[in-house]
Amino acid sequence: MSKTEKLRWAKLDNAAKIYPAARRKNWSNVFRQSATLTDAVDKEVLSSALAVVVKRFPTIASRLRKGAFWYYLQEVESPPGIIDEYSYPLTFMSRKEMRKCAFRVIVYKNRIAVEFFHSLTDGTGALVFLKNLLAEYLEQKYNISVPLENGIVDRRQKPVDEETEDSFLKVAGEVSQSRKDSNAWRMSGEGEAQGFLNLTCFKLPVKDVIDKAHQYNTTLTVFLSAVMMKALLNLQKEKTPSLKKQKRIKLLIPVNLRNLYPSKTLRNFAMFTIPEIDPRLGEYTLEEIINVIYHKMGAEITQKHMSSVIAANVNDEKNLFLRVAPLPLKNLVMKTVFNSVGEKKSCLTLSNLGLVKFPEIMKKYITRMDFILGVQAAAPYNCGVVSFDDTVYVNFIRNICQPELERHFYYVLKETGIEATLESNRK
């Protein structure tokens, strides 16, 4: 048996199956997590740290391969080379690149960024990978010993089975939830040339945001989601003044299922909830929007509801006709479904990774964390949120020229009394 054949492989998890099929000529579903350090990154040490970490997380440090009926992941034989940063994050990941390695490690000055194709893992799994890469790097670079806490694991240990399981299959319910849902308002604008992506980072003081969220008796995620929906409402109103012609504002909020089910998987294990506002019903205050989101999340983020939603996806995967269909046919069907349904149900995604915690010894070397989602295939925006230390980083990514949504988001925030500091990659 050749060395390549001995490498570990895994079927794609239930959520991951759609992403390879949904890829387009210049779009693939990739997201980024990065950490900015106090000192410039030493690439040699980082390569050495990466070589250790890829062995520990074989389902994340993988490449995407084709079988006759399904795609699958195969662990990479050797760690990928370290890449220098481009002028924008999340540059297009081609099929050829994914066949070699479906994640990238990118360095710019003090920053280490990892970009993952979404079939490998979700935000939580990616964060564990990045944390352990940082821990290994800091240990090798500064000769320190990082305790095994806050997501740091023993990198020399063999991968644990629980971390590589497809938890969707375990928690799927008996009854399936209908996927019928109304379409959302679609933003549009003049596209950027050469696939350039505009990044605008809003830096907010954690204390201010949490205090404000508590004033409304809600959480940081609900508060920021409400601000985003209010910004979307204002933007649509500016573009389409006629109330009757306005469409529903819907925000896709990913839900980490590890908080609902006892799972330690590092593969995809997230679902979503989509709160919506019908602007034709009248003007909504921020408080009313918060109520809508809060109650929607309360009703849907339960084991029973999520199990029924997962069941619908798992049943599709188990369908005999779909299973025996050759991969090109499956791709055609899944791509058609994704294009006609998948992305029309929300205006954009707001994904909050939460507060990132490190062991104290690591924390003094890290100054900042970022979480950036790629734009949707047919919609120009997406938004990733992460909190670290005393700052919330809200990263807007956009493939159109006009920063209209960011402007409205800024003003809605300012109306609530929170002032953001802005940073961007403007050309």
């Binding site: 000529k25 210049n26 220098d84 940063e85 481009y86 002028s87 924008y88 994050p89 540059t91 297009f92 081609s94 710019y108 000055k109 003090n110 050469q194 696939g195 350039f196 505009n198 990044l199 605008t200 980072c201 830096k203 920063p403 960011e406 402007r407 800024y410 002032e419 953001a420 500091t421 802005l422 940073e423 961007s424 990659n425 403007r426 050309k427």
Partner: protein
């Protein structure tokens, strides 16, 4: 520092306000922090695989080679090969040539395809020593070229009124079918039997229906509700 136009609070690295595109001017800021991303490092995007386009050319070349050999082998002379070659070139211009372009504009490629048909017709006429039916073929090609190009152009550049465009296209095609029968009767000296009235009636009715749906919103909604998929 703050944007002098919109008042947004900016990092000291910002040169242009990300919210309103105003150039930032703040002589007091002497801090030399690194920008968030390096400037001028844009990856080159490979838009289309030349392998695919090469494979398409080979697909066209195979029947060219086979028909050439068959024609030549039969009587050591080329007789019908020109027709096959012309048809294949026409097929390539129509279906494969746009693949070489990043964003092929159908407003350009549609008349190009009809121009190819016209050249092919001229070739056939030349080979048959002027004995071919150009008085019929030219007006038919020209008519379809005008209707197709008009539909493609309007669909591309008008954001609204798709039902009107297709309604008009159906009605025009109906009228054009009647003209085709007239041209057939002149060119081939066949009496005018009026068969074209059937497609004319159907196409004009369809066109009228689309116009009605375009005007009547409630009828349009009913159709959408009944026929969506």
């Amino acid at each position: 520092m703050y944007c002098i136009n919109c008042g947004a609070k900016l990092e000291s690295t910002e040169k242009i306000c990300p919210l309103c595109d105003t150039k930032v001017h703040c002589p007091d800021v002497t801090e030399t922090k690194e920008p968030l991303y390096p400037a001028g490092r844009i990856p080159k995007l490979k838009h289309r695989s030349n392998t695919f386009n090469g494979a398409v050319i080979i697909m066209f070349l195979i029947p060219v080679a086979v028909s050439f050999l068959a024609d030549f082998h039969y009587d050591r002379n080329l007789s019908w090969f020109g027709y096959v070659l012309g048809a294949l070139i026409l097929g390539y211009i129509t279906f494969a040539l746009p693949l070489w372009f990043e964003k092929p504009n159908p407003v350009i490629f549609t008349p190009c395809a009809f121009a190819g048909v016209t050249v092919y017709l001229c070739y056939i006429n030349f080979i048959t020593s002027g004995d071919w039916f150009l008085t019929f073929a030219f007006p038919v090609t020209g008519g379809f070229c005008v209707i197709s190009t008009a539909v493609v152009t309007l669909m591309r550049y008008l954001k609204k009124g798709k039902l009107y465009i297709w309604g008009g296209a159906f009605a025009l095609t109906g009228a054009f079918v009647a003209l085709i029968e007239f041209l057939i009767s002149i060119t081939f000296r066949i009496s005018f039997t009026g068969w074209s009235l059937y497609p004319f009636a159907v196409l004009v009715l369809l066109g009228g229906l689309l116009f009605y749906l375009a005007i009547n919103k409630s009828a349009r909604e009913i159709m959408e509700r009944k026929l969506f998929f």
